[in-house]
């Protein structure tokens, strides 16, 4: 699907919708069990940026990385999760997994 000059695949659109929902939940104070809304929103924005910068990345590996990162945000401090995401992403890229 093209929006202006940009092409979005289905997964990117879902990610954007998720980010919008999180933003609305945060703004309106909707409760979100267990998860920290600010941490989730930060992670989704980072994922959108990394996915946007590298549109040819392999979706399955990226999906696993995203799931693990979101799950770890339940237990670890945000900075460690962000660090984990970037280190994983870098290694995935260097070893051509994505």
């Amino acid at each position: 699907m093209y929006i202006g000059p940009f092409y979005f695949d289905t997964k990117e659109l879902f990610l954007i919708i998720a980010a919008l929902l999180l933003g609305v939940a945060w703004a309106l104070g909707w409760p979100l069990w267990w998860f920290d809304k600010r941490a989730l929103l930060t992670l989704v924005v980072l994922m959108l940026i990394t996915k946007g910068l590298l549109p040819s990345i392999h979706n399955e590996a990226f999906f696993i990385l995203a799931l693990v990162t979101i799950f770890l945000s339940l237990y670890l401090p945000v900075f460690q999760v962000v660090l984990f995401y970037f280190v994983s992403f870098l290694m995935f890229r260097l070893l051509k997994v994505i």
């Binding site: 990385l65 693990v68 900075f79 460690q80 984990f84 280190v87 994983s88 290694m91 995935f92 997994v97």
Partner: protein, 185 residues
């Protein structure tokens, strides 16, 4: 299948790296870099080498003693952990050494002490303050601190998620959280 294994291993490696970075490179789970990171690493590495050196020095000294004695292939170091007291006693008797030497060597993990130091350590000590004993022989001064005899209060500090207990004599002020973090970071 190989792809999933690679992904799992990479995620595990990334987790270990981030865990190490959080507890060593960065301060208080923030992006601020620990200015003492290199210093701490040097201390850890040198501490590791020092412990390894002491271990090998002790192994070497006990092996040499065994070779000079009965030539047995029994390993004295591991006998300490096995609790096989008969074999250890045999070695002591054969070597005909003072009984005090073995425990000191075993406790410190250092090579055997010189006769002068052994004599100084055998000097009777006088209590100079609560729990602190001292004595002197020739040019050697010997101090012994018996921690259990000192009236003290145990303070618990939390540094990087680890509980650190510090015993402070009752008439002394406890260290502040910042001082403890500087020492145990």
């Amino acid at each position: 299948m190989k792809k999933y294994l690679t992904i799992f291993l990479l995620l595990l490696t990334a987790f270990i790296i981030s865990n190490f970075a959080i507890s060593n490179i960065f301060l208080a789970q923030s992006p601020k870099i620990n200015p003492f990171f290199a210093q701490n690493m040097m201390t850890k590495v040198s501490g590791f080498w020092s412990r390894t050196g002491s271990f090998f020095a002790f192994r070497s000294s006990t092996d040499n003693k065994q070779q000079a004695g009965n030539g047995s292939s029994n390993n004295n170091f591991f006998n300490l952990f096995k609790g096989d007291s008969n074999e250890t006693n045999d070695i002591d008797l054969q070597e005909n050494q003072p009984a005090e030497t073995e425990p000191i060597v075993a406790q410190t993990g250092l090579s055997p002490l010189s006769q002068e130091i052994e004599d100084a350590l055998a000097t009777p000590l006088k209590e100079i303050s609560q729990g602190v004993y001292a004595g002197e022989k020739d040019s050697y001064q010997v101090y012994e601190v018996k921690v259990d005899e000192i009236d003290s209060t145990v303070y618990t500090f939390n540094v990087n998620g680890k509980q650190i207990k510090i015993r402070v004599p009752k008439d002394k002020q406890p260290p502040t959280q910042e001082e403890v973090e500087l020492i145990f970071k």
